[in-house]
Amino acid sequence: MMFWFNRHRRLRDQLSAYIDGELDASAVERLERHLAACGRCRQEMEQLRATVAALQGLPAVDLPRSFTLSPERAALRPPMPVTSPLAFGARIAAAGVAATLAVVLVVDLGDFGGNGVTEEATAPQMMRSNADENELGAASGAAATTAGEEAEIAADDEAETLMRDAETDQVEEPPPAEGGLAPTRTLPSPIPTVPPDATVVPLPRGEEPAPFPGGLTPEPEAGIIEALPAAQAGGDGGIDALTVVEIGLAAALAVLVAGSLFLTFVGRRR
């Protein structure tokens, strides 16, 4: 049944070409066999023929005037394409918007909050997250060092503690744990930290110094120092380079939108 119906539909679609004699001999033979057996297709063919006859019977239209060209008209500057002003403006604007968005996205995503007003507000959190990262790094790294390095780390801890103390009015910290220095002031982490007085584990081969114990590596300084200028820049009302770039892009976007609006206006006046 389904096969017959599909065949019926396929042959019915050929009725128009059949009326015009545009089918090849084998297709004509197939269709005529089907027409002999299918009353609905015969009726449709007659309806199509009547429609074609009605169209062919339409009288020729009266010309409202002659369309011959005068020398003046023939010499006129070619008219602008109908859609060109609007289409051109829209394309320029769309391209500008796309390019601007792409650049802003790349800059912002690539930077991950490295500067600006937003970063100013989040600077303390960044500091804390840096500390978390350091803890993670230490926890996952080897736990061997030398006594001299431990002393250096202690000094770094002091510095970091001072830095964080400066932010205590902005960040509410949990109370310090017993005997804890900097690591004990970090946010709770799902990965346990190594206490500052952890036992020194010798290197398996004793060749390379491993990361510092106590959840600290030299990177915390970098993280804190990175975060501070951002906060200071925001606080001083200064503008860094990326902000300038973003402002420039916004201005370019505004110019493009204004240009497209102007072109649209000009296009409509023509």
Partner: protein, 200 residues
Amino acid sequence: MQTDEVALIERSQGGDLDAFNSLVLAYQGQVYGLCLRMLGAPQPAEDAAQEAFVAAYRAVSRFRRGNFRAWLMRIAANACYDELRRRRSRPQTLLDDGSDDEHTAAELPASDEPLEQRAERMELAGRLREGLASLPPDQRLAVILRDVQGFAYEEVAEATGASLGTVKSRISRGRAALRDFLLARGELLPSRFRPSSEGN
């Protein structure tokens, strides 16, 4: 293509405006007819036809061997598509702009036929015009070129820039849609052509 036409084309390509105007006189009825049936109203059709001839004059130097009528109709069809795009950007109801009567009168010149027959023919012409306007532009163009203007399938393909298979499909679908449109209005086709619930 007739020898005269070839000579006129060659002279037009050399910048002879009179020769080109001879071609205009030969084809302006078909060009305007196409524009009128594509756009459904006299004034836009007039503008599109004039635009098409100006564009053809400027492009005639690039015309190489082929079917000049199909080439000209392609330019006219493009002018109509431009107007349809313009209309989409500034929606308006052309049938309500007071040009309907003018269009019908232009379509049906005065004749000596009986009044009743003339009224019936006018009504059919109006329905056909509505039906054509209801078709998608590509199908409308193919049906007009084939059934109203009498182009061969190959010529329709050349004028529309579509393949032969696409042209066949557009004509078939356009005719079927137009038939359904007319049948839905009932009174235009003889009763034996009206749909029935009878199967096969």
